[in-house]
Symmetry: C2
Subunit: 409 residues, 2 copies
């Protein structure tokens, strides 16, 4: 492989996570290490959408600035800004590609790193295709992230472990909160996950230390049935007065409609249905059926940006992932993405590999059947073994005057 | 003052907090220290309501058990269980008092500690009155707690600092999350506080370190006006695309109706109106007016039980409060409560004093006018000076296999 010398650009795209800035830090660290090959490192403001409008900054000032990079790694969301933008067909003659590649040429961009979920991998795949089509020598590497953990090929995704740790902790605290009164009450906690129940799995990990777990857990991978729920709740209430239920936002009835569906039927730019309120819907249904006190709790966006309780494993891996992505590109990878391959659960061991970015783009990885119990209302031992290493370890959050401190460009 | 020898009982009442178990630990530590005066220490299960039904346990096994007490101090909610029970008039001849005092006599209870908010102080006041009326020698001490910080006499309340720290941190994280997209959007965060805006004040503390704060903050102490909100939002949107607003759940229109009022008009056992959805209501209103993307986030019960990010100051003080309450009772206090008196902001200094429990019962302390800015949409420097010491310091949360560990009876 010939050595490709030039500049690099990095962008963040899609929904925020607690780990996407750690990966950005890793890319910055990796580019600093590629001295003599990569010269300047630019950062897109608001992803590809901002770049189309000429919005970018220089990031070289952060090379070897360990203090700032360390703070960046503990900062939630996307410090460079993000976007949700679907690029047009790279085989067509869109003016967007012309503009982008003119800028790439002007800035001598030879390395393009795009940190994002499956929709962002689609962007990386298209840019790679277009570059090859027009013969522009640029290595495009997609760097995966998503709290949803639903990317194919990779064992897990950066951001998942931190969101999972927040969920495990918060669910334990909510269960303690619910347990204080001695009267029948049902609390429904709604956890993110439109298509998959990976995050909802995390609500059950307390079992590994004999801690509190929800009485019932429901996943979008299984058809949701209200009568089955009522039967499950009745059994749970017979055991103790305070019943806690965890559900994915994406649980669906047999006819395919979401339990928490918004009647407006609005869809986002990627054609996804907007969701709201599985927890409140079910709390209301259970109140109607059992007449007891109920409460719906939506964990909401807080679960994806709770850097103060990030998983040390997740953040450490995310930094390494960014560094490894740069290395892979320097070594010749393009149209590819770096993924995690798990070698062992105990002791936990993971290795990096590369995969074709098109294998990840627009695909969804579901929670496997043997992670969900036979009653479809809880997790299995196998699920525990999978999730536990990913939430291991705590990060030393930076506080000043008792207030959490974040990095800012 | 004569030395009163006998046994003690402690109970927890009202809504959970991250500090009420720290105070319980303090009472246990205090009773252990009162060796020779206090013999057995009992714990009511589910407060006075459980005790009426004969539900209590022995707590002496925890005396000097520092490891377990330390874990108890880091456990949210109310480990003994709680209740919401209003006792009848102590001047009447209720069968409830007869039952309770028969039990006190059987168990030789001479010290009664009741950890709770203003409704619980009412319970303490009534028991003290009844004991004096029937000539039963028992010292009743109310031990304050409430995340709401709305108790009179005391500078602040145990539980407030921890909830405030959670809110300050979470709001900073949500603001980072909101900032990622470059399109006009308004996020409304709803914070607990039916009557007072103390917790909502905490959303603005980031200013002290140049960190992120909401663009607008609204308090129940000030009449809420939708047209004023629209004018404020318009100004904020002119400055940057991502506007974040923090509101107390209890904000009210000029006619006294709650912005987030539940149309069912349901009231709880204390005659409080049930609330729901100021954030969602305003998000919907702003969407209608400005046509931009909006989101309503309810911090919900999570904010009152987030022990994993408790304030070290709050938890340390709460333990001392419990110990001091026992000492005060041994020294003769009855019908009283131990309160915080702040001596200085910088360096922060606080002392314990006692106050008549009737001064606290059923009273509400509001956020003072000079804590709220002239536009009634933000906090002042004076407010910052008040809140900052209360959220200072972090507790070393106990994790096992990456999962938060809690104490359980």
């Amino acid at each position: 492989m010939t050595i490709l010398r030039g500049n690099a650009i990095v962008g963040q795209s899609g929904g925020p996570t607690a780990a996407i800035n750690a990966t950005l830090s890793g890319v910055i660290r990796g580019c600093a290490d590629a001295k003599g090959i990569i010269g300047k490192l630019y950062g897109m403001r608001n992803g590809i959408d901002g770049l189309i409008n000429g919005k970018y900054i220089e990031l070289n000032y952060l090379f070897r600035n360990d203090e700032e990079l360390s703070l960046l790694e503990k900062t939630p969301a996307a410090a460079l800004g993000s976007c949700r933008k679907k690029l047009p067909d790279p085989n067509g003659d869109s003016e967007i590609y012309a503009r982008l590649f003119k800028l790439f040429e002007e800035l001598n961009i030879r390395y393009f790193f795009y940190i994002g979920g499956n929709d962002s991998m689609d962007t990386a795949a298209k840019l790679d295709k277009y570059a090859k089509r027009v013969g522009y020598d640029m290595r495009v590497v997609g760097v995966p992230k998503t709290i949803d953990n639903d990317l194919c090929e990779t064992d897990h995704t950066p951001g998942y472990g931190s969101a999972a740790k927040y969920i495990a902790t918060t669910v334990a605290e909510v269960i303690a909160d619910c347990a204080v009164y001695d009267i029948p009450a049902v609390t429904v906690i709604e956890i993110m996950g439109r298509d998959t129940g990976w995050l909802t799995c995390a609500s059950g990990v307390g079992a590994a230390i004999g801690g509190a777990v929800p009485d019932l857990i429901y996943f979008p991978e299984k058809t949701f049935d209200l009568e089955k729920l009522y039967a499950d709740v009745e059994k749970a209430l017979a055991k103790h007065p305070n019943v806690v239920i965890a559900v994915s936002e994406g649980i669906r009835y047999a006819d395919g409609t979401f339990v928490g569906e918004d009647k407006s039927g609005a869809v986002d730019v990627f054609g996804h249905k907007q969701l709201s309120g599985a927890a409140k819907t079910l709390a209301s249904a259970i109140k109607g059926r059992f007449g007891c006190k109920t409460r719906g709790i939506e964990l909401n966006t807080v679960q994806r940006c709770a850097s103060h309780i990030a998983s040390l494993t997740d953040i450490t891996e995310s930094v390494s992932l960014g560094m490894t992505s740069v290395k892979a590109a320097v070594d010749g990878a393009s149209g590819q993405t770096v993924i995690y391959k798990r070698k062992s659960n105990v002791p936990y061991e993971v290795e990096f590999e590369t995969a074709d970015v098109t294998l990840i783009a627009n695909q969804i990885k579901y929670v496997p059947d043997d992670f969900i119990n036979a009653d479809a209302n809880g997790i299995t031992e196998k699920c525990l073994e999978y999730v536990l290493p990913l939430i291991a370890g705590e990060l030393a959050t930076v506080y000043e005057k008792g207030i959490v401190k974040h990095f800012k460009f």
